[in-house]
Amino acid sequence: MEANITAKKQTPSKTSFDLFQFFYKYGTIITIIALVIIFSLANPAFIQGNNIVNILRSISIVTIIAIGITISLTVDGFDLSVGSVASLSNAIVISMFVWFSQNTFVAIISAIAAALVVGILNSIMIVKMRIPDMLMTLATMFIIQGTALTYTKGATVSQNMVLPDGTMAEGLISPFFSKIGQVPWIIVIMVVVVVVVHIFLTYTKHGRYMYVIGGNKEAARLSGIPVNKYKVTAYLLSALFAAIGGIVLASRVMTSEINSGAPYLMDSVAAAFIGFSVLGAGKPNAFGTFVGAVLIGILANGLVMMSVPYYAMDIVKGTVLAFALAITYYKQK
């Protein structure tokens, strides 16, 4: 009986859904090409070399953070705390230079260590207390947002800032660190992150296990895969990439603004979900996430060039996210 049912389901998808299949696979890339053509016609400056570099630079941080979300999505989790973690690591890395006059190595390691603590908090609560992923990381998002604010006493941290006791901060940000956020390094870091994670997820045993867990947790467990271990790993990795995002952000702006990482959350979520469908993957994947970030970056850049006010940008980004989700979930039916 079951055989008949599955056979039946299969046939109509062959004929009538071909067009949908095509757009599912290539829709994002076609959209990107179409946007490039439209924006170039509207304003030839769009297609010039330095604007393209500009777009790549602007999507770097989003991409790195979105890669973290992508990893959490592979185990059927969802890390909403990445924005706050980026804020926290931004604050820590700058304060290490400015307040404590530490060197680059110590500054970066402290920021990453703090992020990993958040990753451990997330994964323990999710794995041991069985709190649904999205709700736990929502709570963590608030906790860490508050922690970062408390740590900086609600102020922007920058070189030569006035400390609460009236003196000036004497620490300086090292010249080496300031290179990270500049072209070409900011783009190089993004490309390396995407390629490394893509290889990890696609070509290694561990990546396969993570997809298996995301696909069917119960079957994974009964196949003898240590499900909890991989869930913990996924949350540690997503916190790690959020921290890297925060560090790159710190280097790019050379200060630590209040909640600096928060605006990156929605863009990253959008990029990761747009990535589901790229080339018909049908699952979270690093390359797709990069393409998703490119789409968002081009939209933002092009619309600014066409004088759409910045405050209307969220309408466009939200619509793109809704569209990507619609495609993903319609497909899953």
Partner: protein, 500 residues
């Protein structure tokens, strides 16, 4: 006295004739047992009667007057209520007892009223409960109730409407002895109030305890109808079985070695009690028992699922092992082919290839955990050939294959792992005849290579056909150990239904 009759009822599902010209009748004020082996059509017949299907042919009459029952609502309006076995599917856990009992009333009888009258809701629910002599607080949340109490709430909901006939689908399977007695008291009460109760159960002793009439089904047909006082357990068993299946099973020429797996006093949190057994290398040991006897729970407890194990000792090849999760189980050479294939056995969205290699990716890993895709492909292709999996290619998604082929994959993945103990839980469920034969061949082949095999099934003919030795499970306990050679289906069913 009213009589509910089903005449000449047939229903077909794609490829299966589930009911074939069935006649069935119940009288009010009587308890009527409906008996049959798994897949005999009992549940289908009751679903027709309660309006779950609308594509059947035949006629349903009440005292000779024809009725149209095509939807659950029309059945309820005619006074036919059903309590399904899975009580949780019909209850809303975070609402109170009263709200759950009066659910149908709130949904169908509110009319234009917009406000809920809480006082009257609770008092009406309390009245229904007290009429049943039950003392459940109406303000308690359903999520805090025991399984037996949830069942009571559903029965209360059924009698809250006009209830002339009540169908109880295997109500006693999850209940303890005292809870069962309480249920029987309520059934007796309902009978005295002139309600006709249709009682489906696999436990024969209790049927003889509370039922007046009996209808026995086999393969979608009614084979016997009589007063319960005119028959006995052995006769009922004979009718349930009918003729045996043809030559499906391969010959067993195995050399049986030393004891390989030894289980002592296995006890889990809720079902399995003090279960001891052993399997020798090259031996196929059956776990026979009806649905709900605890076969699945045993297989999972042995495999370390959910850490439900409370007590017991497991020895593999003479060495004591502590199987506290499936990861440890696999490391110790155990393999489980679970009953719920789609939910637990396979990854429906993944390719045949990655399904087959998932349990032992170490075999396919190079330095730094990089996967050897070529080797994966090679092994997958070899397995597809060896198991006769019908698939367009090794990259096809498993969801596009038939049930039998999916099951071959669920088994095939453990061949890569090269386990020593294979646990099969209802491996032929939803599998067509051809694939069944392939699966039997595969199991016998594994045994001939010296693997220890546990074969849990409620299909007694399969247990007879494929095993060397059988443990019969009844209500979580191993009630009998039998050599397959010197037993028969009648004896197995006798012990499975609680005979002793």
């Amino acid at each position: 006295m009213t009589t509910l009759e089903m005449k000449n009822v047939s229903i077909e599902f794609p490829g299966v004739k589930a009911l074939n010209r069935v006649d069935f009748s119940v009288k009010s004020g009587k308890t009527h047992a409906l008996i049959g082996a798994n897949g005999a059509g009992k549940s289908t017949l009751m679903k027709v009667l309660s309006g779950a299907y609308d594509h059947y042919t035949g006629e349903i009459t009440l005292d000779g007057q024809s009725m149209t029952i095509r939807s659950p609502k029309s059945a309820m309006d005619s006074g036919i209520q059903i309590v399904y076995q899975e009580v949780d599917t019909a209850l809303i856990p975070y609402l109170t007892v009263a709200e759950n009992i009066m659910l149908m009333d709130t949904v169908h009888n509110m009319g234009k009223k917009q406000w809920v009258n809480w006082k009257s809701l609770h008092s009406r629910a309390a009245t229904i409960l007290s009429e049943m002599n039950l003392s459940l607080p109406t303000k308690k949340l359903v999520s805090e109730l025991t399984l037996a109490e949830k069942q009571m709430v559903l029965i209360a909901r059924a009698v809250s409407k006009e209830c002339r006939f009540l169908i109880l689908d295997e109500p006693t399977a999850p209940l303890s002895h005292t809870e069962t007695n309480e249920l029987f008291r309520i059934v007796q009460d309902l009978k005295n109030r002139d309600v006709g109760v249709i009682f489906i159960s696999h436990r024969l002793p209790e049927i003889f305890e509370i039922c007046d009439d009996i209808t026995i089904m086999r393969n979608g047909e009614v084979v016997e109808r009589q007063r319960i006082s005119d028959t006995n357990q052995n006769k009922v068993v004979e009718h349930m079985l009918g003729q045996k299946l043809g030559d499906q099973f391969p010959d067993k020429f195995m050399t049986i070695g030393d004891t390989f797996l030894e289980v002592k006093g296995l006890t889990d949190k809720d079902k399995i009690k003090d279960f001891s057994m052993n399997v020798k290398a090259g031996e196929i040991v059956g776990i026979a028992g009806l649905v709900g006897a605890g076969k699945t729970e045993f297989c999972k407890a042995l495999f370390g699922v959910e850490g439900k194990l409370v007590a017991g000792e497991v020895k593999v090849n003479g060495k004591r092992v502590n199987v506290k999760n499936p990861y440890e189980a696999v490391k110790n050479g155990l393999a489980l082919v679970p009953e719920e294939r789609r939910k637990e056995g396979i990854l429906v969205n993944a390719s045949v290839e990655s399904n087959l290699t998932v349990v032992n990716l170490r075999h396919f890993s190079k330095d730094f955990s990089f996967l050897d895709r070529k080797k994966e492909k090679l092994v997958a292709k070899a397995l597809i050939n060896r198991l006769g999996i019908k698939t367009p290619s090794e990259e096809t998604k498993v969801q596009n294959l038939s049930g039998g082929n999916q099951q071959k994959i669920a088994i095939g993945k453990w061949l890569v792992a090269d386990a020593d103990v294979y646990i099969f839980d209802e491996p032929t469920k939803g599998v067509d005849v051809g694939a069944k034969k392939d699966i039997f061949n595969l199991i016998v082949e594994l045994a001939s290579r010296g693997k220890a095999i546990i074969y849990a099934s409620s299909e007694l003919s399969e247990i007879m056909g494929i095993t060397n030795r059988v443990y019969v499970l009844y209500d979580g306990r191993s009630v009998k150990e039998l050599e397959t050679k010197s037993t028969n289906e009648e004896e197995l069913l006798f012990y499975s239904t609680g005979g002793r």
